[in-house]
Symmetry: C2
Subunit: 187 residues, 2 copies
């Protein structure tokens, strides 16, 4: 039987794509194996198991999110940068709900874990937004957590369809950007 030519990166990418399609909870080793054209046990030659796969998908998602946010921010400052970052982040989560879901509840095993590095890159991207505001040294950590909570909370609530009632969601998000901008400018 001919080799399929797989490697860890291919398997993880396929897993992330599959998670986006069917939902992280329905991502199964058998389904992933079928997707990449291989029998289930063969996957274990490339990833350590389901937990390892999840961690790698999470790291991939964080890297991609960091790239999306970082790229969107470039060339902007202040309110424009904030809006670009927030929109890019939300768009990423809505386009890739499965791989983003893999990032919640997963902890880096150590300081050299690729997951930790990826998380730091995403934080750096948001940090760049704050540089366009007059945020004092002692406030920057708090402001960063606030931004992260806002974006993460809104995006995950929307991805989970938790906003049942009527008002337009895009409009709410723009309102939220405006709210954060006014608050940051007033510091």
């Amino acid at each position: 039987m001919p080799r399929a030519g797989l490697d860890p990166a291919t398997v993880v990418a396929a897993g992330a794509a599959l998670a986006d399609e069917v939902g992280l909870a329905h991502l199964t080793m058998g389904l992933l194996a079928e997707r990449v054209g291989v029998r289930t046990p063969s996957l274990y030659k490339h990833v350590g198991g389901q937990e390892d796969l999840n961690r790698r998908i999470a790291a991939l998602a964080l890297r991609e999110a960091a790239d999306a946010v970082g790229g969107a921010v470039q060339g902007y400052a202040g309110r424009d940068a904030l809006a670009a970052a927030a929109r890019a982040f939300r768009a990423f989560v809505l386009e890739h709900p499965g791989r983003y879901a893999a990032t919640i509840g997963v902890e880096p095993s150590g300081p050299d874990d690729p997951l930790a590095a990826a998380g730091r890159r995403l934080l750096d991207a948001f940090m760049a937004v704050l540089r366009g505001y007059d945020v004092g040294e002692s406030d920057v950590d708090h402001a960063l957590r606030m931004l992260r909570s806002l974006c993460h909370g809104f995006a995950t609530l929307q991805a989970a369809d938790a906003f049942q009632w009527s008002a337009d969601i895009d409009q709410s998000f723009e309102w939220l950007i405006d709210f954060a901008d006014r608050g940051l400018r007033a510091m």
Copy 2:
């Protein structure tokens, strides 16, 4: 063999407690059965299965969260009410991470689903906070979503240990309350 005297409410409550202890992902029918002193298949006399159990735990969690937030708000207005609500919500999520996790990603099946009613009660509790501010009719939905996103985002990120770095988390949360208060007062 003597009867164990179970009923759906008891099973759901035990499931919620167990989810808080071991994490929702590790809540297994066998473990729950052992906890309530019964064999696994007997649980199916009281709940429809794992998905049904999850929905019931979610509804319980939303009712409890609504009670906690609603109770904390009573007698306060403005910044005090906001702070009380936010603290009560975060405390609930941190004390009951398992049952709160059951609420994310679960959709009400219809308008008479107990889950929908419980969700509405929680929203009402946050709505009461907004009455202490001068929020216009057209802004109230957006402000509600902002508050919900902030609280949900912060609490779930903390529950997932996603705030790796140094600054004190309680301090960040108080900072966040202050930030939201200033923004709402400035409307």
